[in-house]
Symmetry: D2
Subunit: 320 residues, 4 copies
């Protein structure tokens, strides 16, 4: 508590390099998701990390330039976009509480009459996709989502991996069940296939750690895109999205992530995690092996190491 | 983002006074807890607030000097004390995830084989009380707990309200059910009555907002007691307790509290809330009326106002 | 206990007429199902009853010749047909226990990994439909089902109400959710739409009380069709289907039906009930108003009266 | 369908002897309950069977004269006695539906606000014990229960096994949890210890198969005690208790028991089962090994054999 105040850019590059080295050698790497065939083929030895500071300085290590399927991390960007469309009306259709249950979400939907607990579990993100679809064709909604993420990252070559999107659609019976079930409560307004089309394509965004950290900068910077000065969301909305990432960003491992890392973060089953250090940095890590809660095992460990060495936890008194 | 950097002590006194005035006049005050008779008798018009800054400056408003039953806020101090006794072994008997379910905790205990989700729901705090009991008599464990809170607050006249403790014991069948149920899984080691004796007496601690804010200072200050320089817990443990307060401190309203307030906090059914601004302030509010999740309605609103005017959310970029 | 031994055919006609008269005048008739528009239009004043004795004598009263939507009563015939196709292999995909829970079946599917509790709840009947579909087109499977029911009743003019089938498909999101969910566990083998097509058409069978009682005769007669001497199922299978009707035939009101009536029975949300008096009679009643468990209010009462006056409960010592 | 009409007494003795012989040699005997130490000590090779016909003829085989702990079978006698005390008012505090859930009863109590699903699961039987306690001392209520069972069996030497009762009390934390939990809803009226005292002692009744079959005769005979002509309950109440045994008598294996055996029955974790053939016979079997649902493995098989050879299923058309 104190050393971090003087943390220099070169110190930080060293820290990031050290962590990547430790992770490359880590013996217990978790297990990659197997249920989507293209994800199961990814090399479990991969590890990448990108830290982008408030001033734009970028620290990369490992496979930070290699693209991977961001999967549920897209829920953050989709929520941001949907809030732009309908504002706080969105919260009539989605809650803001941790799902908090090892037995997953369809049970909760029954008890809570089709209102998913938060926008970062599948059911909630499907409602968000339904909002994004609005009066458009799925193709248009997917296009808007892609353009939005490209704007956030400032890179035009981000793409959606069609093979992944198709594989999700082909095996996504549980998501179809969630969508049909919510439709039975009136909380999905479009044909289930159309809404899921938007959802699956958003999940199939392929990005590198560097691109993902770039795309997360607006949450570090009070809602502004630092490179352009353009406001993406209000400062209040940025804080609130961060709060949701803290309490709900890691499924039923959100409490553990807050306990160990202490940053707002969102994980995806592709092995990526986006973590936000408000006012300080946007961080992306990637390692395909998952822990028993479905979050990247080494990604979490890498972030824990980063926070230990930088004092960047939001629960740290001397952040400043 | 910026103004708060120059927040002066006199600004802060004005803010606290403004909030107290607004709250005194608020029409919708929630409903005081009715199930413990002595709590049901408390005047719902009460409102108190205390903000203690890192340098010890104290801002009081409203009924900040009136004692109330801190109830579940005691779970924070009990957890701190129990971690001192058994260290991280405690986490073998208690989880670290939000309970996240409107249907409350005995269901979860069945699915998770007697391991409560976190130390801030009743089941978890009963396990913590069982740990505090250790090899002692309940009277000794209760005495230790009282001394610990007196030390944290630096005040010797804090007491336990025996009328409240007796009323809880007389009507606490649900807590007895939780304790017996966990005992059936081997996760309570003492006679249920003895363990509950410790638990009920800790809940019956009577403190004022000022005393409560004093007692919370170690969580603001990286684990140190600022007045004495004495270390209560390590910096890491202080961060972790703050993280638990953020994700689990308001029962099934924890996500909402993080969304609106953005601070680690712990509420009690007596209407109190302790909130921590790491490095900045320890804050206590009290208003007896509860919202539908069992958290102080005006207490939450008062903290939301405080954060709006000070920029003290941990999710705010320019804290510092 | 004794009088019923001498129950004559004319006594029985009088009893049936008395019951119909009482039911026609009953003030509290329950509430017709509203979620399928064509069902909501049915006149709640309707009441019909048909009792067909082992020797073929038929007692009719009220609207016993008017057709209604048999809905879930079709699950009995579908199960019988599917057991004919795959034998006891069917029980690998469907359980034999009461669902026994007011909170309905999708929760149970999650805990029991996609295996529905019994063939008489929706999820179980959808698996049965999936089995009936086999390698055929839905049209063929529906045709086979229709022929089977016509054979059982010995009447060729039984039809499927296309308006009802279409209405169910248009609003059947919860059934689509169940099917998709079971498909995610591998317990539905065909496209959800195709399987549900078979299911919805079976539910849309339109039959009169007389026809329904005729169709149930094989369960009264140890598996034989009395009119032709043709064996439909073995005596053991007939007993077992009766047992399932007793424990699972009235959703979460099965215990109550056994308690009050004491006969194997299966209800449908169209207001019909088929009840079997082994060795004695096949009975059908119909009244559109449902009780809070979704079973025909007056249909249940009518059967209770019938059993009181005939001593036909299977739990009655002197049946014989 | 027909042969059973001519079943002679000597045929039946042969059948019972055959079954006992088969069971004595059966390789897969299940696993005795381990959680109550005195039960865990019972020899798993034991098997007893007693069939008492309506005319009083008694067929015994195997260890039919050896006493065992009847455990939950006592719930049938306790229910009968409590209905005698308070009549159908009892059903305001206990339901009549199968619990129907592999995840057991405390979950259900939460959803259904402290009303247990039926009197044959532990929670329901604890409410029944609370009713039996009434305004008496536990000792008196236990004495009344013992006298009642002695009257039913017509034998004065039936006793309660104090060692078993004490062992249950010492380890019965889950039952204490159920009782405390129901007390929190106001559905237990006495001190938990007192109510559980009655409950545990009833469970600890020690009886032989012969005694148990004798005690069950009133349920076979329309509520009369055949030996004395004394009416124990009305014919309607006898039918209804039989119905409850059919739908709820084997915990979450009740559907399976109805499917395989087709008789009202009640099992206990001591390995006993009481089964009723209305108008025909009262049957008791005992073998300590349990199946995965907690019901006697060989006891169930023995009853299945008996029904196969006698045609005694209540779902059999030609019973008579």
């Amino acid at each position: 508590m104190g050393a971090e105040i003087d943390l220099s850019t070169s110190d930080l590059s060293g820290i990031v390099a050290d962590i990547a080295e430790e992770m490359k050698a880590a013996p217990d790497r978790g297990t990659p998701a197997a249920y989507i065939p293209p994800l199961a083929k990814v090399d479990p030895a991969k590890f990448g990390m990108a830290v982008i500071e408030a001033d734009g300085t970028c620290h990369l290590a490992g496979d930070a330039e290699e693209t991977f399927s961001i999967q549920s991390i897209s829920k953050v960007f989709a929520l941001t976009l949907a809030l732009g469309h309908v504002g706080d009306q969105l919260w009539k259709r989605v809650g803001r509480e941790p799902s908090g249950s090892a037995f997953n979400s369809i049970v909760q939907l029954e008890f809570e009459h089709g209102i998913p607990r938060n926008p970062f579990i599948n059911a909630g993100a499907i409602v968000v996709a339904d909002i994004l679809l609005g009066r458009n064709e799925p193709r248009e909604a997917i296009g808007e989502m892609l353009r939005f993420v490209r704007t956030l990252a400032g890179e035009d070559d981000i793409v959606i991996d069609r093979e992944v999107a198709d594989a999700e659609a082909a095996t996504g019976y549980r998501n179809a069940a969630l969508a049909s079930y919510m439709r039975s409560f009136g909380n999905i307004h479009h044909d289930v296939e159309r809404t899921l089309g938007v959802y699956f394509h958003a999940c199939a965004l392929a990005m590198s750690c560097r691109q993902l950290a770039l795309a997360g900068r607006y949450l570090m910077a009070g809602g502004m895109l630092p490179s352009t000065g353009r406001r993406i969301v209000s400062a209040q909305r940025a804080r609130r999205i961060n709060a949701l990432m803290m309490t709900c960003g890691h499924y039923d491992g959100s409490g553990e992530f807050a306990f160990r890392v202490g940053l707002p973060g969102k994980s995806g089953v592709g092995g990526g995690i986006l973590a936000i250090v408000p006012g300080r940095a946007s961080v992306a890590v990637w390692s395909p092996g998952l822990n028993e809660r479905g979050n990247s095992q080494l990604g979490t460990l890498a972030l824990e190491r980063l926070v230990q060495r930088t004092g960047w936890s939001v629960f740290e008194p001397a952040l400043g």
